[in-house]
C-alpha cells in the first residue's frame, strides 16, 4: 500500500516536472495574476480557419475572461486561463485542430504576410512557406529563441529584415522587345532609377540599381516586361528587444526549394557556435559573419552575397539607410564574387 502511494507520488512529481517543461516549451505564459496563464495559439503566417478562430473565442469565453490578444508575431493568445483548466483548454482547442505555439529557446512559429496567393504585390508564396517551415522545424531547440519570417516582396511588411532568419521575395525582370510599344510606363513606375530609355526608346535596366520589386512587370500593359527569375533575399541575425540588432543580408534569389536547406544549415551553424542564451545575431558578431557565410555557401552557391554587392546602390537602398557602412566587411569565402549574372555597372534590356 505504502509502496503504491510512493509510486503515485513519484508519478505525480514526474507529472509536475513534465508539466513545468510543457509550460515552457508549450506556449503557456505565466501572467502577473497568480495561477493565471496566457495560452498562445499556433497560427503560422497569422492565418487560420474561421472554425479555429471560433473555437479560440469559445475557449476564451468558457475558460478565460473572454479576451484574446493578437501577439506581435501573429499568434492569438487566450488570456486569463486558470492553470487547473489547462488540460481542458488544450483538449478543446485540439478538437478543432488548433495547436499551441511555443516560447523559450526554440524555433518559433513562422510569421508571414499574405504572399502571392492573394496580395497583389507578392512574388512568393510566403503563407505556404510559413506553414511548411513551421511544420518542419517548429519546436526544435536552439541556443536562444529563433524566429523566422517570410515576406512576399521587397516591401517586407512582416519585417523579415528584423528577424533571426528572414526571407523576402524578389523578382528579376526581363524585356521581351517584340512586345514593347515604348509607352514608357515601366520607366515611370521605377522608384529606384533603375530604368531608363535607350536610343530605340526601349527600357534599359541597371542591375546595380534594380531592387527586384517587380513594379515594372506589374505596370507593363503589354506583358513585355516579364519575370526572369523569382526567389528570396535572405537576412540573418536580426532581432528587436532591448538590444536590437539589424540582420545581415546574406543571399539573393534563393529559390523556394533551397529554403529548407538554408534554415537547416542556419540552425546547425547556430547550434554549433551559439552560446546558451545568445541570439544568432550576437553569435555572428562574436564568431564572425564569414564563418556563417561559408556554411551558407554550400547551400546557396552563387546566390551568396559578396562584399562588392553591398556597395551597389540596390543593397544600399534595400537595406536600412547607413547601416551597410557599419558592417564588418564580408570576406572571400570561396567563389562568391557578387551577382552571377552581371558585372558591376552591367546594363541590359
Amino acid at each position: 500500500m505504502k509502496s503504491k502511494e510512493r509510486t503515485q507520488s513519484n508519478e505525480s512529481a514526474r507529472a509536475t516536472e513534465a508539466r513545468a517543461e510543457d509550460l515552457k516549451a508549450g506556449g503557456f505564459i505565466p501572467q502577473r495574476q497568480k495561477s493565471k496563464i496566457t495560452v498562445r495559439c499556433k497560427a503560422p503566417g497569422g492565418r487560420m480557419t474561421s472554425e479555429r478562430l471560433e473555437r479560440i473565442a469559445e475557449v476564451a469565453r468558457t475558460y478565460g475572461n473572454g479576451t484574446v490578444h493578437l501577439s506581435v508575431r501573429q499568434s492569438p493568445e487566450i488570456l486569463y486561463i486558470d492553470l487547473a483548466d489547462l488540460d481542458a483548454v488544450v483538449r478543446e482547442l485540439g478538437e478543432a485542430g488548433q495547436e499551441i505555439a511555443s516560447c523559450g529557446k526554440r524555433f518559433r512559429v513562422t510569421t508571414a504576410c499574405g504572399g502571392c496567393e492573394y496580395n497583389p504585390n507578392g512574388w512568393v508564396d510566403s503563407q505556404l512557406l510559413a506553414a511548411e517551415m513551421t511544420n518542419r522545424f517548429f519546436g526544435r531547440e536552439t541556443p536562444h529563441k529563433f524566429k523566422t519570417c517570410f515576406a512576399g516582396c521587397v516591401i517586407d511588411c512582416p519585417r523579415a529584415r528584423d528577424t533571426d532568419l528572414g526571407f523576402h521575395g524578389m523578382v528579376e525582370p526581363t524585356l521581351v522587345p517584340d512586345r514593347c510599344t515604348s509607352c514608357g510606363l515601366c520607366v515611370r513606375s521605377c522608384r529606384d532609377g533603375a530604368l531608363s530609355t535607350d536610343d530605340e526608346q526601349l527600357p534599359l535596366r541597371d542591375h546595380d540599381r534594380c531592387i527586384s520589386c517587380g513594379d515594372c512587370i506589374k505596370v507593363c500593359p503589354f506583358d513585355a516586361m516579364i519575370p526572369k527569375r523569382i526567389g528570396h533575399a535572405v537576412y540573418v541575425g536580426g532581432k528587436h528587444g532591448r538590444h536590437p540588432h539589424v540582420a545581415y543580408p546574406v543571399a539573393q534569389f534563393v529559390p523556394d526549394e533551397h529554403v529548407p536547406a538554408v534554415i537547416e544549415t542556419t540552425l546547425r551553424w547556430y547550434r554549433e557556435y551559439g552560446n546558451r542564451g545568445e541570439r544568432i545575431g550576437d553569435t555572428l558578431d562574436r564568431v564572425g559573419i564569414d564563418s556563417y557565410r561559408r556554411a551558407l555557401k554550400s547551400v546557396v552557391g552563387d546566390a551568396l552575397l559578396a562584399a562588392a554587392d553591398l556597395q551597389k546602390p540596390k543593397w544600399r537602398r534595400l537595406f536600412y539607410r547607413g547601416v551597410v557602412d557599419a558592417f564588418p566587411p564580408y570576406g572571400d569565402v570561396g567563389g562568391a564574387t557578387g551577382e552571377s549574372d552581371g558585372t558591376p555597372g552591367c546594363r541590359e534590356h
Partner: protein, 77 residues
C-alpha cells in the same frame, strides 16, 4: 497605330481608385472584343489603372501620351 474606340471616358482629374471603378463599370456595360478609350492623369492613375485592367483579364492595346496625361485603349475581355 490608331485604334478606333467604341466608347470613350475622360478620367483626368478623377482620383484613384475611383478612376478604376468607373473604367470597370463602363467595361461591364460593353460587349466582348469592344474597345474603350480611357484618358488618365499622369502619376498614380497611369501606374495603377493598367495593372487593374490587366488583372481583370482585359487587354490593353495602346498607351499614348495626351494633354496632361495618357490615352489608354482597352479591349474588353
Amino acid at each position: 497605330m490608331e485604334h478606333q474606340a467604341v466608347e470613350s471616358i475622360d478620367l483626368r482629374g478623377t482620383p484613384c481608385p475611383l478612376n478604376w471603378v468607373k473604367t470597370k463599370l463602363r467595361l461591364e456595360g460593353m460587349g466582348a472584343g469592344e474597345l474603350l478609350e480611357v484618358l488618365l492623369d499622369d502619376g498614380d492613375a497611369i501606374l495603377n489603372v493598367p495593372r487593374s485592367v490587366k488583372s481583370e483579364g482585359h487587354r490593353i492595346i495602346a498607351v499614348s501620351p495626351v494633354d496632361s496625361g495618357f490615352r489608354l485603349v482597352i479591349e474588353r475581355a
